[in-house]
């Protein structure tokens, strides 16, 4: 999910949620975590960020993030480059403690507190030391999880390779002002983005650049990426146009960002942790449930069904890579997920296919949207247990 999407929605919810958050705070001091993990207390005030320790053994770590300030805060763990997000917890209200559970490999990291969630963050270095307990429970499981990671990485790399090719074709048509050609290429190229979006999002910078919706724009941001092109191709009113300079800039940036994404996921040092696979699958469906099912993602083009199918495809690929492990740890969950994926795919198939094209979202009846939403909820609820079933 584009973190900007979530942030905007969550802010709007904050006042109503305050009493709930206060109730949660009551329980914070009794929260317990898994026995083999290290707990690091993080204290955020309006202008300070204090960690109880700046190093911990590699393995499961719990950052207990307490907001003692007056503004809603967020906490990030970045990779040593300070850009790639390893884990994050948003919307920590004043008086509230929330736990962020991470699996840390030995190495250095950057922690960041952001009181006010406005980008004015306070950073510090953090080290995971190699002398800690191994994160993985057994050799056999470790091997299976490594295999899952490799399989899913292969899927991601394949999708990004295709995305790069199709993005180039789209950008060429768009830059040349050939709107008919660009419109015909738009949804088909984005499929490959929507299948792997949580991975792209983990880099922090590429997702906002490539996939920001107009509604997500902040005050200062230049609007680039797919949705700027979308609005140009499906203008809301006659006469809506883009300047030639912006047209070229959008096309060039789409290609450059996508090639950068391709470079990063094919870097031999790039790995996808097993817990990220399961969480990514959940995130894909979360995004489907919040911005696709409402028709907000493709507000101008109406190509939401392509995105939905791609989100489901991506979640299924993630599930497939973990499935052999979960077959042994929780076979009932496998039966449930197989049936629920089939149900969603069957419903989507009544509206078209990626090969043949889908209906535009305005053509889908309200009753059909309710059915789709219910099927997605029925899949998402058990899918939220996938990570734990594979990793714990």
């Amino acid at each position: 999910m584009n973190s900007h999407h979530g942030r905007v929605a969550s802010r709007a919810l904050m006042p109503a949620a305050l009493s709930v958050l206060a109730a949660i705070a009551l329980s914070a001091c009794t929260a317990n975590s898994t026995d083999d993990s290290t707990t690091i207390a993080v204290s955020i005030t309006d202008d300070a960020c204090t960690l109880s320790t700046t190093s911990a053994p590699a393995g499961h770590a719990v950052f207990a993030v307490t907001n003692s300030g007056t503004k809603v805060a967020e906490f990030y763990v970045y990779a040593s480059d300070g850009t790639k997000i390893v884990a994050e917890v948003e919307n920590v209200g004043p008086g509230l403690t929330r736990d962020l559970v991470v699996t840390l490999d030995a190495g250095s990291y950057v922690t960041s507190c952001d009181p006010g969630m406005d980008g004015g963050d306070i950073r510090a270095d953090f080290v995971a030391t190699a002398d800690g307990q191994a994160a993985a429970p057994s050799g056999e499981r470790t091997e299976a999880l490594n295999q899952a990671s490799a399989q899913f990485l292969g899927f991601v790399q394949g999708e990004v390779d295709t995305l790069a090719v199709k993005t180039q074709s789209f950008a060429d048509a768009f830059a040349a002002g050939d709107h008919d050609a660009a419109r015909s290429l738009y949804a088909d190229a984005r499929i490959h983005w929507e299948r792997i979006e949580p991975v792209a999002e983990s880099f922090g910078d590429l997702d906002p650049s490539l996939d920001l919706r107009e509604a997500d724009l902040g005050l200062q941001e230049p609007w680039m990426g797919w949705h700027r092109a979308e609005k140009t191709l499906w203008p809301p009113v006659e006469g809506y146009a883009i300047s030639e300079a912006d047209r070229t800039a959008v096309a060039n940036r789409l290609v450059a960002d996508t090639l950068e994404l391709q470079r990063r996921v094919s870097d031999p040092a790039f790995v996808i942790e097993p817990f990220q696979i399961g969480n990514g699958a959940k995130e894909l469906l979360d995004e489907l449930a919040t911005s696709k099912i409402t028709g907000e993602e493709e507000i101008w083009s109406g190509t939401d069904l392509w995105d939905m199918q791609a989100n489901v495809d991506g979640a299924f690929a993630a599930y497939e890579s973990l499935r052999p492990i979960v077959e042994t740890t929780d076979p009932v969950l496998v039966t449930e997920l197989d049936a629920r994926f089939a149900e969603v795919n069957a419903l989507l198939a009544t509206h078209g296919s990626i090969a043949e094209g889908f209906a535009y979202y305005s053509e889908v009846s309200e009753a059909d949207i309710v059915d789709l939403s219910r099927a997605v909820e029925s899949l998402s609820e058990p899918l939220a247990r996938l990570t734990a079933a594979a990793v714990l």
């Binding site: 009493s19 949660i24 009551l26 559970v101 817990f275 909820e377 029925s378 609820e381 939220a384």
Partner: protein
Amino acid sequence: MTTGAAGFSRRAMLRATAAGVAAAGVAGAGGFGIGRASAPIAGDEQYAFLGEHQSGIVTAQQDHMHFASFDLTTDSRDRLVALLRRWSQAAATLMTGSEIGSGAVGGPGLLPPDDTGDALGLPAAGLTITFGFGPGMFTKDGKDRFGLAAMRPGQLQDLPHFSGDALDPAFTGGDLCIQACAHDPQVAVHAIRNLARLAIGDASVKWAQLGFGRTSSTTRAQKTPRNLMGFKDGTNNLHAEDSALVTKWLWADASDGEEWMSSGTYLVTRKIRIHAEVWDRTSLSEQEASVGRSKGSGGPLSGGNETTPIDFHANAADGSPLVAADSHVRIAHPSRHDGAMMLRRGYNFTDGTDSLGKLDAGLFFIAFVRDPRTQYVPIQEEMSRADAMTVDYLKTVGSGLFAVPPGIPHGSRLGDSGAFVGQQLFA
């Protein structure tokens, strides 16, 4: 995932962390957090989930309600039974003021919490949870999805169209329903939210209603409350203490037709919007005439106090009846309907304002009756046609009818293969 009887009391947790509450400075919450930490607390009842009848019917009516109606999205009888088992176990846990499953914060960090946590620190607050089965559980679109069509009680007939009905499908019908009532709205909302979550994959919420301020009393000890029209409501209600009347008018019996409904009852819901602005600019005498009672005391216009029997033969000097021919109390009175009584248990509601800036509010009417065909339909039919208050100032926008199965007997064991609400239907 363990779904445990092992649920721990939110209240006990609160006591343990009371100091933490103060330290956390939940200032705005004042009485909310700290007031509740010191027992005993008025209104902090716990009701039993197990019993001959379900809770939330003759229970002294609580002040807040969250009601939800569900569509069954599964066609599997086994899954329906499993859902009713999950719901029964969770309802019993929630009614003790405990978190469901492994709790809101007690489970593994990599799993979503079993309980949503929004009632942490709150007591049981007199929570009752009442389950009902709608017509769609027996047949829907001509299909007998669960092999239950032959068990559909004659009492569970679709309600007819009443004059003036403006039913919105978004507030009407449903295959299943849950009524959660409590002294604290957050406890009621938490219950429905968690039960709805447990249903995902098998049942989906079709519509729901929040209610505040009871509009009836179900025991003699309770004072008669006022509805949003400003009148005392439910004066002539069936009360828990009237055991002979309760037996006669409330609880179904095997001789009524369906053995499985014995000790159960039927639940009618009507979402009734009040034309508030129109009502508010109606003269006091006109308001009182349309109701048939004094707005201040609640006494009948034929004289006396709130509990004085209505004298329908009393006339004014000019010979006109003191209690008008089209007044609400006259049209709805049991004496006009073979003595038929209902146990009313409704709530005020407001859904904010409508697009014209008018108050979107009214009465979420709930009645429990032994037979809707004789105790509800004829009365509503006449009210909708002839009752001045109903015709001129009310609009019904939602409607529902549900069979409320009996309770789960004392001593039953709940859980994965245990007892569940409505088990007699599946025997």
